[in-house]
């Protein structure tokens, strides 16, 4: 009985995924394809090829940062929808530091670029959080507005101010290339001795272990420190927290800055880890994906890692399906959305079920042992 439940709990995410796939099958059937074939392609393509595995990890990296950024704000009852804009600004700041400074050693230049990215994200978040805490303006509205501004500002900066002069006259609109010292080292050299080679292996960079490390540190920070305790109090009853002398506004400000700082790092996987410049067509939308990642992870920093992996897998699998099963791209996007939605719903239902079952069991244990009368007296 107990073992069965434990098994169910461990299997919950997997069951949720199966459920999601079942729902999506209806969609696949509707366009006249065989779901089993489509899924087979998806799994074979993404899980049996080394290049796919590394591509998944590469796509997972920014999602870890984005998921963590969103989760940190949610933890403090704030909705940072502005991760998107914050990472645009962060990416630009990192690129600026990367290409405008020359001759610095990597141990100085790279940390400087990372700090610039985090700082850029934080600065971009200052207006919304100040408006929230001083004037009560809802951060959802203000961060969305800041996203628009960030997007337009970036186009202007790349196109009109910092465009690489050597590219003028070509269709390539991008900043100059960053100094090699500011680039995030690839994990290729570390993996080569294991017999792993290829361009997808090379793409993987040290931001992945950095993201995982940040997740672990945050989990510890939130559950063990005084500040983490204050965050819990502020989130679960701000009035009682205030009465206990906890400065609500300062706690929320701190968490929002933490969120925005991490958000600033989201774009670096592509900018400093891969391309080496900021192109006008750099990957967008990661901040919004971060919201889904955080939801799936239930704002748990450690849960963000598997949640981000799942999104990375879906993305890679979609590419395979598009290519080998010749399913149109739009359908793939719809499929992804359906799977995610179904997973979120199924996950919620299953956790609830496990929780009530656990409670029942706890009650059974009580009946068996005669500790009936509460404690205390």
């Amino acid at each position: 009985m107990k073992g069965r439940l434990l098994l169910l709990q461990v299997a919950t995410p997997a069951l949720a995924i199966v459920f999601g796939m079942l729902i999506a099958s209806v969609m696949i059937l509707a366009i006249g394809r065989n779901p089993i074939d489509v899924y087979a392609v998806m799994v074979r393509f993404s899980l049996t090829r080394t290049d796919s595995l590394f591509s998944i990890l590469f796509k997972t990296t920014p999602l870890i940062f984005a998921g963590l950024a969103v989760a940190m704000s949610f933890r403090a009852s704030l909705f940072n929808i502005g991760v998107e804009g914050q990472y645009y600004i962060g990416a630009f700041c990192a690129a600026l530091v990367g290409f405008s400074l020359r001759g610095l050693p990597a141990v100085v230049h790279l940390p400087l670029a990372l700090l610039a990215a985090a700082g850029g994200g934080m600065v971009w978040a200052l207006v919304p959080i100040a408006l929230k805490l001083r004037r009560g303006a809802h951060e959802v509205i203000t961060t969305i507005m800041m996203n628009y501004i960030a997007s337009a500002l970036l186009l202007y900066l790349i196109n009109d101010v910092f465009r690489d002069p050597t590219q003028i006259g070509t269709p390539r609109v991008r900043t100059p290339v960053v100094a090699p010292a500011a680039r995030v080292p690839s994990m290729g050299p570390l993996l080569a001795p294991l017999g792993l080679h290829g361009s997808d292996v090379e793409k993987l960079n040290l931001l992945l272990p950095l993201g995982v490390t940040i997740a672990v540190v945050l989990a510890y920070f939130l559950s063990r420190t005084r500040f983490g305790y204050e965050v819990r109090a502020v989130a679960s009853n701000p009035l009682a927290a205030e009465a206990a002398g906890i400065p609500n506004a300062r706690v929320q400000f701190g968490m929002f800055m933490l969120s925005a700082g991490i958000a600033g790092l989201v774009g670096l996987n592509d900018i400093l880890g891969f391309f080496g410049y900021l192109d006008i067509d750099f990957p967008k939308g990661l901040g919004f994906l971060g919201i889904s990642v955080a939801l799936l992870a239930k704002n748990n920093p450690l849960g963000v890692i598997p949640a981000a992996l799942l999104f990375g897998f879906l993305d890679r699998g979609a590419a395979g399906v598009q290519f080998f099963a010749r399913v149109p791209k739009e359908i793939i996007v719809i499929l992804q959305a359906i799977i995610i939605l179904a997973i979120v719903v199924a996950y919620e239902l299953l956790t609830r079920y496990v929780r009530t079952q656990r409670k029942r069991e706890a009650e059974l244990v009580v009946t068996a042992t005669p500790v009936a009368e509460g404690t205390g007296s």
């Binding site: 005084r226 204050e230 109090a233 009035l239 009682a240 706890a362 009580v366 009936a372």
Partner: protein, 511 residues
């Protein structure tokens, strides 16, 4: 002919680590007022939630009017004529009385248009039928606590309830409002309604009920007719030993002034002043009682004194230091503790663990921290001692505090605020929801702290409590202190006149 409205047979309900109800048998006759009493955590609320379909019993069954029934939801309970008056009012402040009453079962025309006039009429009829003084068109946010409770009762009657469950309805009322409530309850009973009434105040229980059932540790100790029992007997049945209902009030020579307010002005909601020119000084070794009907500025005064509400004018001093514009944290650090009037609002964070709630506000102390980290072993020791000293009934201190019974939640707040020898204690309704044993314990604690030099500001709607604890008693009415008495001079009747605004300070001076 079966005149039992409800028959509970062998109801058992378990929660992790506790048996909340253990084979409970309860029979409630149609048309009676049946009181249920018992210590904090005895299982009263749990039993009522089972009856109202909020919880399912693990064992046992329920018969309603002689028919076995499965009550799996409040909706089903209402179909069977069982209604519950919520302790924490679920009203929408900007709606009128009538709008609140009909919410969820609005009368509508065939096209779905709300028949507001009909609704208002039906609510007015109900009020007339049962003698409730209530204006169906009044906005609920502007009503007193007692009136809001009446709205809750009308709401349940509107849905056709024959049996009303009232779980500690008087905990939030002042004596006059209790009288009014009892008047209404008797009227309901005359008209054939059945009432289950829970209270920790045995005088009330004896005054209003026909039968009294006593629960202890989830089991029924017995059911006795109210006319043939006494407070002492009930108390003994509840606790399992005789309870001393007397309290000693040793004389203490007061020391220096610890907490002082000078012509304090505090805004309420909007621009209106909730506290107008209030001056008071509480000395070390003294309990200064503030009596008054709730809603006369006490809430705002307390919040201002502990730094939770901006002060518009006047001065606030702690130990002679000006803290008029200090933060709540700064005032706390000067040794001011605060028991808030509403534990769920300001006192505890329901989803957080019992241990987390017990250190709230103390969590920055050296004994609980290791640099930036919380020191779990240090905290565990403290938590274990507090749980033991205050007899907080909890199976596991890692459980969220919402799993505790109402009285045990209050004990968490009280235990926490009494920790680390505060110099000043601002206590609003400190014994609200506590059983007689716990009430007596907290009162003793208060007096012991007073003897060792603590300055206590006691705000209470419970006159008996104010009178038995205070050295000086002030009455607050309409945002002002309208009278101040020395302990020996104060009588309930005299206080009552000031509390209702019948008499004022100036007249008292003249006379």
């Amino acid at each position: 002919m079966n005149d039992l409205f409800i028959e509970l047979r062998h109801i058992t309900k378990r929660f992790p680590g506790v048996v909340a109800n253990d084979g409970v048998d309860l029979a409630v006759r149609t048309g009676e007022i049946h009181a249920i009493v018992g210590e904090n955590g005895a299982g009263k609320s749990t039993l009522m939630r089972i009856l109202y379909g909020l919880y399912q019993p693990d064992q046992g069954d329920i018969a309603v009017k002689g028919q076995t029934a499965v009550i799996d939801s409040p909706r089903r309970a209402l179909e069977l004529g069982i209604g519950m008056v919520h302790q924490h009012f679920m009203l929408i402040p900007v709606f009128t009385v009538a709008e609140n009453v009909i919410l969820g079962s609005e009368p509508a025309s065939g096209l779905g248009r709300l028949r507001m006039r009909e609704a208002r009429q039906r609510v007015a009829d109900l009020c007339r039928q049962y003698g409730f003084i209530l204006d169906p068109g009044a906005e609920v946010g502007a009503l007193s606590v007692g009136e809001q409770q009446r709205v809750e009762i009308i709401k349940v009657l509107y849905r056709g309830a024959e049996l009303l469950i009232l779980d500690e309805p008087t905990a939030v009322l002042v004596p006059q409002e209790v009288e009014e409530l009892f008047h209404n309850l008797r009227r309901l009973k005359e008209q054939g309604k059945t009432i289950i009434f829970i209270s920790h105040k045995l005088d009330e229980v004896l005054a209003i009920s026909d039968q009294v059932t006593v629960l202890r540790h989830g089991r029924v100790v017995g059911t006795v007719p109210a006319a043939r029992t006494t407070k002492a007997q009930l108390a003994e049945m509840m606790v399992g030993r005789p309870v001393l209902l007397e309290l000693e009030h040793p004389s203490v020579t007061p020391g220096q002034v610890r907490l002082e307010a000078r012509r304090l002005r505090v805004p309420g909601g909007g621009k209106r002043l909730a506290v107008r020119e209030v001056s008071l000084a509480v000395r070390a070794g003294e309990v200064y009682g503030v009596a008054g009907v709730e809603g006369n500025g006490q809430t705002e005064l307390v919040e201002a004194l502990v730094g939770l509400r901006p002060i518009a004018g006047g001065q606030l001093l702690v130990d002679g230091r000006d803290v008029t514009h200090a933060t709540a944290r700064a005032i706390r650090l000067l040794g001011v503790a605060h028991i808030p009037e509403d534990r769920h609002r300001r006192g505890i964070a329901l989803p957080m663990a019992v241990w987390e709630n017990l250190i709230l506000g103390h969590h920055t102390r050296d004994e609980f921290t290791h640099g930036a980290l919380l020191d779990r072993p240090g905290i565990q020791g403290f938590v274990r001692r507090r749980v033991g000293d205050y007899d907080i009934r909890v199976a596991d201190t890692d459980a969220p505090v919402l799993a505790l019974s109402g009285g045990n939640q209050q004990k968490v707040v009280v235990a926490r605020e009494f920790s680390f020898n505060p110099q000043v204690l601002v206590a609003a309704q400190p014994t609200r929801g506590l059983d007689i044993g716990a009430t007596e314990f907290v009162m003793r604690q208060l007096l012991a702290a007073r003897s060792s030099g603590m300055a206590v500001l006691l705000i209470s709607a419970n006159l008996e409590e104010v009178l038995s604890l205070s050295d000086r008693i002030a009455v607050m009415y309409g945002g002002e202190m309208v009278a101040e008495f020395a302990r020996a001079e104060a009588t309930p009747a005299e206080l009552g006149l000031y509390m209702t605004g019948t008499k004022r300070k100036d007249e008292a001076r003249a006379g």
